[in-house]
């Protein structure tokens, strides 16, 4: 007998999207640095903003999974 909240299963499924998004952001960052190593500083800032924006979806999902 398994007990628990079905919310967590839903959250796990919904975390796939932001996971792919974060992967794409950092893949692009690595590509950019590989092509132009001196642009690393600027790219890092942009990459972390992109990371934060994609991650927001996963975090909202986590909070709603606990809250609703």
């Amino acid at each position: 007998m398994v007990q628990g909240s079905l919310n967590m299963v839903g959250y796990g499924l919904s975390a796939v999207g932001p996971g792919i998004g974060v992967g794409i952001v950092f893949a692009a960052f690595i590509n950019g640095v590989a092509r132009q190593p001196e642009a690393r500083g600027q790219l890092q800032t942009i990459a972390f903003i992109g990371f934060a924006l994609s991650e927001a979806l996963a975090i909202i999902g986590l909070v709603l999974a606990f809250a609703i």
């Binding site: 800032t45 934060a52 927001a56 986590l62 909070v63 809250a67």
Partner: protein
Amino acid sequence: MISSLWTQAPAPPVPPGTPAEGFKAPGVEDFNIPPIFEGVPVLEWFDKPSIQLILAALIVYGFFAVATKAPSIIPGRMQFLAEKFQGLVRDQIARDNIGPDFRKYVPYLVALFAFILVNNVFGIFPFIQFPTFSHPGMAYALAAVTWVIYNYVGIRKQGFGGYIKLQTWPPGVPGWVRVILTPIEFLSNFILRPVTLSLRLFGNMLAGHLLLLVFIFGGEYMLTVADSLVLNVLSPFAFAFAIVMTFFEAFIQVVQAYIFTILTASYIGASLADEH
């Protein structure tokens, strides 16, 4: 409702004669720290997280006060650290995101970064081991300060109408798209920004700490309570993974403080931007 997260009803009483229960996974109720001054009328709100907030403010203030008390051309160790920290925020965060007028906002950004960093590191600091921002109210307050600042700065620079236009009326968009785009921009820039800013910090701290709790309580259960030799033998792996996750947590805590600061700078920069 999110606010109901921390006021859950206590678990129903276990009827007598129930056999010994299995492993009970840690949950959000483990974040409800019992009050210190139970029943004292004025001090009742004063619990561990609020003490941590005050402690963090004192640490940040004390560090920078001591480090810059007697500045010298050749910096000592603490002055060097403080200058490096301030330089990182000024060059990497403020200048890149705010633009030419960045100098005014550096003090707020430095204080914000240091304050969030200290509060997050409390999550893995021995004898404290509770991230302050895993209670959402604290994160809401921080995001509210940032919200007020970037709106105030934008309104002062552009005027009220100009600021609203800048945030909701992106140039060069065909008219029929605006019907959809303007409400989305309004929602995104004025309502979702502070919400995501605070929930990101809160959610990361909650999830990371919960992960550590799962591995440590799980390892303890496997070692001391479980009746199976296999589980007893396997329990060191749970503890080892808890240690690995602690290092990962340390990384996440620094990254979250960085992201909160960088997003604040980027919002201020967007409010100050000239129309193209």
